[in-house]
Symmetry: C2
Subunit: 345 residues, 2 copies
Amino acid sequence: MSKKTTIYDIAEKLNITAATVSRALNGNPKISEATRQLVNDTAKEMNYEQNKLALALKSGKSFNVGVIVPRIDSNFFASVIRGVEDELYPQGYHVIICQTHDQKSVEIENINSLLNAQVDGILMSISNSGPEETRNFDQLLKKNVPLIFFDRKEKIPGVSSVTIDDFKGGYQATQHLINQGCKRIAHLSNNRKIEIFEKRYLGYKQAIIDNGLEFDESLVIETMSKVDEGRKSTKILLDMPEPPDAIFSSSDFVALGAIQEIKSRGINIPEEFCVVGFANEPFTRFMELSITSVDQSPVEMGRIAAQVFLEEVGNSKKIKSERQVVLTPELMIRKSSLKSSVLAK
Amino acid sequence: MSKKTTIYDIAEKLNITAATVSRALNGNPKISEATRQLVNDTAKEMNYEQNKLALALKSGKSFNVGVIVPRIDSNFFASVIRGVEDELYPQGYHVIICQTHDQKSVEIENINSLLNAQVDGILMSISNSGPEETRNFDQLLKKNVPLIFFDRKEKIPGVSSVTIDDFKGGYQATQHLINQGCKRIAHLSNNRKIEIFEKRYLGYKQAIIDNGLEFDESLVIETMSKVDEGRKSTKILLDMPEPPDAIFSSSDFVALGAIQEIKSRGINIPEEFCVVGFANEPFTRFMELSITSVDQSPVEMGRIAAQVFLEEVGNSKKIKSERQVVLTPELMIRKSSLKSSVLAK
């Protein structure tokens, strides 16, 4: 790496003081036009102009905003980021992205990397694995760098969030399966220490109770959001003495794994077994056997998270506002759970 | 935004000079242990320790590496990034990601954002639309910030790249279609000003010529890498007086759109019409009608690009090495192009 050109290098070359160089670069009216021109030309020649950073340090703004997500190769997170970009780009902000691979330790390092990169704010969806102790966002909050959660959040006083009504999403999905005549509905959840998964589970449970069906905790399995894991958990369910007749999964990837396992056993979907996923990943509609899923309006979620950031970055540090925006989910009914026998009724 | 704590604030609080604060923070032996301790404690109390940035400016290293990709929601690019992370993370580097949405203007702004964020290097795959003039990477190159291209590159002397043999990928895919008995093979290309698409096209063309088939330029359509665009281009092909009997697409998303259009006309895949994509996106194997595609070893590509970066960042600026690494593609044959009639032979 080359050493960066500093105002001292420019001062030395021109045989003037660093203070004069600094004033000239910052357009201080005390400096003559001729000197300003000379300093600017020399700075350019010595490749200094990149040091917008110094300016950023001064104004306290870099116009970079950091977004931290568990993974980028999920259409859901990519769409949220798209929404964030759509909203921030016209305001002159750029978005830089980090992924945690759902590791808390990486999440902490990502926050530090983004702070070192002098971002003006961080929008994030927390990861779901790692040590049990609570995350420490104090560092970040002390610096008054706005932090906004989307989708997966922690409850921190003063920190805004944009989420969907996950309870309702879980309830709707389960009610739909009950309407299809399913009696014994399993739930492939994820780490329920994460609020969104707990709420989807609670929505599922409530729908079962409200419809007078028996709630059986043994039909609930925590499963990482991966196709193979979905397959494994479905094996366990199908090998039970009293297997379920439907699965509501809190992940589309897990739902896909479930479908692969169910089909491999010659069980007919949806006539004998219904499956519903969550997140409305594009592959759910590309499949020949398209998958019913819960849409979370990710682009909208990203746009709103960005709007909340713009509000917060515009506030003086004395104003502490906290917004909790909750979007309404939408069930997208497709082949994996739509029985023609029910349709005919 | 709050004002950042500076060494001047610490100096004022302790009633010592900024130079002393700076020396103490940097462990200068001229400073007594008592003063060093006092400065460190005060810095911590005033929340200064985040200014690793100042240290980064001094050492010329931030341990952040920027990756610029056309889009993050493509498994190919996400997998390259995974490879980059796998390689750099153990070396203490963090990866921050920007996407261009295939817009050259955004690409330039991304480069500036990453330079402002003081990255130690940029790994990028160029975007394929925008003004025609050549990109200007001079700024970047002058700063001696290592630039490494992967997959989509420009030819710039001294700049390394990691690509796959796209000519071979195009040739293999087309040869496979010819082996299946296809006689009139169309090609859905992308912007052929981008080297990878030109090479896939040339590989396709050469395979046709080598097998003594007629090469028909009207069967080649440039198509943006989107499902809907693939559908549109396929409509054009199928409406020709002499429609093709196979499509080799330089994109899996376009191949998917092609399949949707072909099926919607009641044409049987693969018996009447074969389709091959490119990039081996996961959905190509998830589909009931799985899609033949060309695998590009993206994780490997990312790992190697990261290794090249580590070499370059370790070099003194006087050593200019340029590496052009070319990986071999692998054709993954699946249902969309495998005729049982041919299998039986």
